[in-house]
């Protein structure tokens, strides 16, 4: 099983763990992740404005390059996934935007959203299969009570992301079961942690991240896992009313598969 892989800027710097464990686990599962040779930063956030073209072009370039490779494009960072998926959707379904973007890009063959963008979690669920993962787990995290934190970008807008039920997701919970731990469902798992304003408004970021962390703790979780570097940072740094640890889900996956050196 071979996929194109888009790591994104943060995974190359502050979130190396997310990337490193993700690659190791993939290898252990027999999945080949081929890093797009010429990927560019996705821009970090998808501009909701229809007339914003330029800021979305770097994402389009990466998508077009993945199309040439011919494999599904796997992302790991929630934010990159959101940007690539939304941009791809616009290229596919917004003729006005795709015409303008193609005009700017001057590709040999116009790009119209042909690449299939999937998140690493979707790859685990739909391509590898959680039951297969459970079989390969050598070091099950038995007894661990883990709270999945989806945040906002992984699931929404639901019509575009189409990963799971945006209000009652199960994909990370199923993942947690696959690695032998017990998922803890709590209501704030899909509410925003306020990561965006961490530079701008610390107080708001603290308030929101505390709400998430406390809700997870209140429901008996030992730890929180996430797919988003910004959420991880924010929950670690700003959720000061709770000391619940936060990990990348790939780290636990690598641990369960016995490849976390």
């Amino acid at each position: 099983m071979t996929f194109s892989y888009y790591p994104g800027c943060t995974l190359k710097t502050k979130a190396k763990d997310l990337d490193r464990y993700g690659r190791k686990a993939a290898e252990a599962l027999g999945v080949t992740l081929e890093e797009l040779p010429d990927w560019q930063c996705c821009g970090g956030t998808f501009s909701m404005s229809k007339d914003e073209i330029a800021s979305k072009l770097s994402a389009v370039r990466s998508l077009a390059s993945a199309k040439d490779k011919g494999n599904d494009l796997v992302t790991l960072c929630s934010a990159c996934h959101n940007v690539l998926k939304q941009t791809n959707d616009a290229m596919k379904n917004d003729p006005d935007f795709s015409a303008k973007a193609n005009n700017y890009m001057k590709l040999d063959v116009p790009y119209n959203g042909e690449t299939n963008v999937i998140h690493y979690l979707e790859m685990l669920r739909d391509k590898v299969g959680f039951d297969k993962i459970a079989e390969k787990v050598t070091n099950p995290l038995t007894g661990k009570k883990i709270a999945a934190y989806y945040g906002c970008l992984l699931l929404r807008p639901g019509k575009v992301m189409q990963m799971d039920n945006p209000e009652n997701p199960t994909i990370i919970e199923d993942f947690i079961k696959a690695i032998g731990a017990e998922p803890v469902v709590y209501p704030y798992r899909n509410e925003c942690c306020g990561g965006y304003v961490t530079m701008e408004d610390k107080a708001l970021a603290k308030k929101k991240s505390n709400k998430v962390a406390l809700s997870a703790a209140e429901n008996g979780a030992d730890m929180i896992i996430t797919a988003c570097p910004l959420c991880l940072y924010n929950l670690n740094k700003n959720a000061d009313e709770s000391d619940i640890p936060v990990y990348y889900f790939t780290e636990l996956l690598a641990e369960a598969l016995g490849v976390k050196d």
């Binding site: 019509k159 039920n165 209000e167 469902v185 209501p187 704030y188 209140e218 008996g220």
Partner: protein, 663 residues
């Protein structure tokens, strides 16, 4: 050559505002065959109709073209008019210059030009019209009501009252429908069971009414006055003629964990059950999905305890066929599934319930014997939040675009009853709009606010977060005070939108009745024929036509019954004379037409013909049964030789219209 009269209607200003009616009647005057052309304010008025009649007599008209509204509106009117003047009613053609011209074009010149062309097409067609005579078909004096809720019950009772036989087909083991699950009814607060169950008993006892419970319609053939319907009587593994409804079996059955649908799964029933005490017919039914005897042949307890010997594990589904003159659809509604609304935590918390579940929680025959208790821990809730419009008025694709109509009133009822019975309970209602048109409805809602101090808050709930301590954190907006609220509630009640029952869509297909995009049955006319389907002989009763409360449902049910009685009173119906006809001289006998005819109206026989060369030949030729043919025209295109044609819509007529339009 026809002598044609042209009559252009102004329809007040509806046509005249964007079509120069004078110019149209003037232009059409010079068309071949037109000997008279005029225009008038309202052709459908008595004066207008007299104008047509006078012109027919004065000018010896043989054909009439009326440029007016849609033929779907007044074709029948004008056919009657010309008939009054001695002309064959099928010598009229209508040019639709209102719906398909004046109402959609703003520019007068454009509208006028198009109206002239439409008029010319109608003239071209009427040139080729021939007088047609309608045949007759008999009416079977028996009606079928599909659905045994309050709508179906009322319709059946009224039809039976008029002396006609009527059958009710109900998929559930008992009639009664949703109303059996409701506790009290607004705005009078009388007990639903007290007013419904006597009607159910009336149905059972009325000798004109036959109830097919636990049955469904599987096929419908025929047409108005003469439908043939297949009804599947599902195996209930109990001989209904022997069962006395004593209920011993339902107490002894060892399978105790079947979710009780009557209480919406909030408690359990046995594998053999009677839905509730007042069920009609009051007989037991075995749930084949759970019965041990039927699943693996091990048990047989019910059979042993049944003194009447009514249990029959070998019973099979049975299909019976019955003929009817009229069919009433009364398939009712269901609350929508709330899968798309998990922000309200319906699937995460037992204490988030729907309004129908709330009805069961307050009903004396419900799982809590009428005590309002939290499903999670059986404690009294002290703060209750009602959320309105859950899935109603939703155009995002998650819910239904329409207003479910009944939620405002039943929520006011729930809030009021709660406050009355448990005055220590805080009750909040989040609303977008409170819609209470109806007799004594707004007064009812105001009582909830003014007399019972229910907190009505203009705003919506955004998120319900179940807390570890069992409370529900309700995050909502209060648009009047412009703040975001957090209410710690014990129970949240969602007013889920209602939708037509799933059986309605396949039924509509069988009945060839049309449906709207929400799967409600379409009425023949939104204002003037609200209880008839566009398909002749099919009538609509209750919520299958649109959201309705009980009083409205009952009025519509009686209205549908009146329409059915009107039909069944007739001994014969006039057939549509626009039927297919085969030219025997051209017929190849190939059977193509017979294959595509949906009514089996075409038969073949060998016939002796005198050929042009004076020999005789035996040829296989088609013949159309005009009483059975409905005039769709499928055969006319299947026929390679052009032997088959359709009266009133002949090849030449349609091509004449094409020519007139394309000229």
């Amino acid at each position: 050559m026809q002598r044609i009269g042209v009559f252009v209607c102004w329809c007040g200003s509806n046509i005249a505002a964007t079509v120069d009616v004078e110019a149209v009647s003037e232009a059409l005057k010079s068309e071949p065959g037109v000997v008279f052309s005029t225009n008038y304010q309202y052709m459908c008025s008595e004066a207008g109709q007299n104008m047509i009649k006078d012109a027919i007599k004065e000018h010896n008209l043989t054909g009439v073209v009326i440029c007016s509204c849609s033929p779907r509106m007044h074709e029948a009117t004008f056919r009657k008019t010309v008939q009054g003047a001695g002309l064959n009613p099928y010598m009229v053609e209508i040019a639709n210059i209102r719906e398909q011209c004046s109402w959609i074009h703003k520019d007068k010149q454009t509208g006028t030009e198009k109206a002239i062309i439409l008029g010319k097409a109608a003239i071209a067609k009427v040139h080729l019209n021939a007088p047609l005579t309608a045949g007759e078909s008999p009416v079977v004096k028996r009606a079928l009501v599909i659905g045994g809720g309050i709508a179906g019950i009322q319709t059946a009772l009224d039809i039976a009252e008029a002396g006609f036989d009527v059958d009710i087909v109900e998929t559930k083991p008992t009639i009664g429908g949703k109303m059996t699950q409701i506790d009290k009814t607004f705005p009078t607060l009388d007990c639903a069971a007290c007013i419904l169950t006597p009607k159910m008993v009336d149905c059972a006892q009325n000798e004109k009414i036959h109830i097919y419970s636990y049955s469904e319609v599987t096929a419908v053939k025929g047409f108005v006055g003469n439908f043939t319907v297949s009804i599947k009587k599902k195996a209930r593994y109990v001989d209904t003629t022997k069962c006395t409804g004593c209920g011993v079996c339902t107490e002894k059955c060892p399978v105790k964990n079947v979710p009780n649908e009557f209480n919406l799964g909030m408690n359990n029933r046995r594998a053999i059950y009677i839905p509730f005490a007042q069920a009609v017919p009051k007989v037991a039914t075995i749930d084949a999905d759970y019965c041990n005897m039927l699943k693996n042949g091990k048990c047989g307890v019910c059979s042993k305890v049944c003194t009447a010997g009514a249990i029959d594990y070998k019973q099979q589904d049975e299909i019976i066929e019955e003929r009817y003159g009229a069919i009433v659809a009364a398939t009712g509604f269901n609350p929508i599934k709330l899968d798309n609304f998990d922000e309200f935590a319906y699937s995460q918390s037992k204490d988030v319930i729907t309004s129908l579940e709330f009805e069961r929680l307050t009903n004396a025959a419900g799982p809590t014997s009428g005590q309002l208790l939290r499903p999670s821990d059986g404690k009294h809730p002290h703060t209750i939040v009602f959320v309105q419009c859950v899935g109603s008025r939703d155009t995002s694709g998650c819910g239904k675009p329409y207003c479910s109509k009944i939620c405002c009133m039943y929520t006011a009822k729930h809030a009021m009853l709660t406050r009355e019975k448990y005055p220590d309970t805080d009750v909040y209602v989040f609303y977008i709009d409170v819609r209470t048109p109806g007799k004594n409805f707004d007064e009812f809602y105001r009582r909830a606010v003014e007399d019972y101090n229910v907190h009505y808050i203009k705003g919506m709930v955004g998120k319900v977060a179940p807390r570890a301590d069992g409370t529900l954190d309700v995050q909502a907006s209060d648009l009047i005070s412009n703040e975001q609220l957090h209410i710690s509630a014990d129970l949240v009640v969602l007013a889920a939108a209602i939708e037509p029952d799933k059986s309605a869509r396949p039924l509509a297909t069988m009945l060839t009745a049309s449906m709207d995009t929400n799967d409600f049955f379409t009425e023949a006319h939104a204002k003037l024929r609200p209880v008839e389907s566009p398909t002749a002989g099919v009538f609509l009763s209750g919520t299958c036509q649109g959201p309705k409360d009980i009083p409205e449902t009952v009025s519509q049910a009686s209205a549908a019954a009146a329409k059915v009685i009107g039909l069944l009173c007739k001994d014969k119906l006039t057939c549509n004379p626009c039927v297919a006809h085969s030219d025997e001289m051209l017929c190849n006998g190939c059977s193509s037409c017979e294959k595509v005819c949906p009514y089996g109206a075409i038969t073949y026989s060998d016939k002796e013909f005198r050929m042009p060369d004076r020999t005789t030949a035996i040829r296989r030729v088609a013949a159309v049964n005009e009483a059975v043919c409905q005039g769709c025209g499928a055969c006319t295109v299947a026929c390679p030789s052009g032997a088959m044609d359709l009266k009133g819509f002949s090849n030449k007529q349609i091509m004449a219209e094409v020519d007139a339009i394309c000229k």
